[in-house]
Amino acid sequence: MPRKTYVAAIQEALAEEMRRDQRVFLIGEDVRIGVFPSTRGLHTEFGDKRVIDSPISELAVAGAGIGAAVTGLRPIVDLMFGTFLYLAFDQIANQAGAMRYMYGGQTNVPLVFMVQNGAGSSAGHHHSQAVHQFFMNMPQIKVVLPSTPYDGKGLLKSAIRDDNPVLFLHSLSLGGKRGEVPADEYVIPIGEADVKRAGNDVTICAAGPTVYTALDAADALEAEGVAAEVIDLRSLSPWDKETVLESVAKTGRFIAVDESFPTCSAASEWAATVAEEAFYQLRAPVQRVTNKDVPMPFSPVLEKAVLPSEADVIAAVHKTLA
């Protein structure tokens, strides 16, 4: 199988879906030139109408995506950084995330919002926050966050084909990661986790960049004779509770690794769910490994210290086994 980078796989998903379906188009700031390489080259192939550079107007661009979606198109709205969604928050939470329901099923919103999620480029608070937890809370928005080129391509295709609004999160820090991507057409269903590493001693749940943190920790733990199971959720909403609960039934120990501010985070959700539904299988308390509870600092050493680290995960595993 050909090996591709994470961004190349995402770019490929965009190009293939735009070829497949004339209703799919891309709109956002500088998507033609491509601030992120994921949209680069699409303008050359698809032209002005299908790759639209917008003014810097997140609220209107998000809303325009919604209006286009409810009138028959399948927009991909690229808003660049996760935090820029804050400017479009109303359109996502109040409109995209409710129109179908609010209007009694008269319409649907087949729309993908696409942004980079989380830290890693030492760009300070305004460009380094993870935002998935906000959108997971919304009842009518799907959220995905792939960690590999394979998952990135397969999930983006599913997101574009989904008849509901999907927030597709990608990670700048994973952009250059390479992995196998089949030449043949495939999709990855939204809502299915992937066990990235099997193990019987402890279940570690992660998504996006933290999958690698968890895998690195699992490698280190192997040397100690601890077999950690690393589940890459891939989809955050809906998320694959079943796979996680099955794993915990086997391991009796659970650690949620999540790049985000701790309170009301995805890690809180995973930990609460496991505590609720696998209580009698648990042999030790669930644990959360998240960002430290501070805004994202600029300095690379501070940024690194804020993010969940391999050492944090190992410490949590040691604690759960103690």
């Binding site: 188009f25 109408k49 639209i52 917008s54 003014p55 107007s57 997140e58 609220l59 209107a60 661009v61 998000a62 809303g63 325009a64 995506g65 919604i66 209006g67 286009a68 979606a69 409810v70 009138t71 028959g72 198109l73 927009p75 109303d90 359109q91 109040n94 409109q95 129109m99 179908r100 329901y101 609010m102 209007y103 009694g104 099923g105 008269q106 319409t107 649907n108 087949p110 009842p139 009518q140 008849d163 509901n164």
Partner: protein, 327 residues
């Protein structure tokens, strides 16, 4: 006075739309006062000429987006009074099966893409509907109603600019009814005409008399033609008057406080869009007096029946909570 350019059929059509809105809203006001309606209700009385004139210039394919004060837009676009009334009661037979309510009526069949309870929240969505038409090469036009208050939201600015840069077929109709809740429009902006903001986007901005349904029809038609020709968006400011409360029952909110200019209110009363149209229709003999009366009583009765039917409709089943979530 006779409007040469408004054929009899059209004049009667517009008159009927205005009348239907008025009688509907009057009934809704009564129902609210009687405690029959849940939630908040914002009436369109005094502003009917805007929706009626504007929507008369649209085809069934053209789409509209509306606001918290949206009943008039639905009716003007050809919506079903019974289903709207049922929705106001929160019933299973309503437009949105009771999930939307007064501030969230939609009828996608007739191009009414929905009322939005967030001030300014519908404007970008209308830009998207216009983008859709432009993208597909359709000659559909997207039209958006919003208030003077909404014109101070960031969404207004971003949306008009976006529609302008892409030359989209979008018509922005600002219903300047002089108030946003209890705040006079003139306190919330330092300009006389919201239409002047069009200058900032390089699009035409027109002021129209929102009490004159025919003028609303004319300016909208010109904007529609321009949009269909690929000429891009237009901003139309309709000067109009909100006759009654911001929201029904506001006397309780106000607790004796006042915010209205009495003279202005009196002038607005005197300049009633329904009365003006009625005079026009009868003075020009478009319809004999008895038919005019019959029309009114038919509508009044129809609305009363709609209320009765809505009242007697079933509440939504609790199971319906989990329907209409995903497609």
């Amino acid at each position: 006075m006779h409007h040469q350019d408004i054929p009899v059929d059209l004049a009667l059509d517009i008159y009927t739309r205005v009348l239907r809105i008025r009688r509907f809203e009057e009934e809704v006001g009564r129902l609210f006062r009687q405690g029959q309606l849940p939630g908040f209700v914002h009436l369109y009385i005094g502003e009917e000429a805007v929706a009626a004139g504007v929507c008369a210039a649209l085809t069934d394919e053209d789409t509209i987006i509306s606001t918290h004060r949206g009943h008039g837009h639905v009716i003007a676009k050809g919506g079903d009074i019974k289903r709207m009334m049922a929705e106001l009661f929160g019933k299973a037979t309503g437009y949105c099966k009771g999930k939307g309510g007064s501030m969230h009526i939609a009828d996608f069949e007739i191009g009414m893409l929905g009322a939005i309870g967030i001030v300014g929240g519908g404007i970008p969505i209308a830009v998207g509907a216009g983008l859709s038409a432009w993208y597909s090469g359709s000659d559909r036009v997207s039209l958006c109603f919003f208030g003077d208050g909404a014109a101070n939201e960031g969404s207004f600015h971003e949306s008009l600019n976006l529609a302008s840069t892409l030359t989209l077929p979008v018509i922005f109709v600002c219903e300047n009814n002089q108030y946003g809740e209890f705040t006079p429009a003139k306190n919330a902006m330092n300009i006389n005409d919201i239409a002047d903001r069009a200058i900032g986007y390089g699009i035409p901005g027109l002021v129209a008399d929102g009490v004159d349904a025919f003028e609303m029809y004319r300016v909208t038609r010109a904007a529609v033609e321009r949009a269909r020709r690929g000429g891009g968006p237009t901003l139309i400011e309709a000067k109009t008057h909100r006759r009654g409360s911001h929201a029904e029952g506001e006397e309780a909110f106000l607790a004796g406080q006042t915010y209205r200019d009495e003279a202005e209110t009196a002038a607005a009363q005197a300049n009633d869009p329904l009365r003006l149209l009625h005079s026009y229709v009868s003075e020009n003999g478009l319809l004999p007096a008895e038919q005019l009366e019959a029309l009114d009583s038919d509508i009044t009765q129809f609305v009363a029946e709609a209320a009765e039917a809505a009242r007697n409709s079933p509440d939504p089943e609790i199971e319906s909570l989990f329907e209409d979530l995903w497609l």
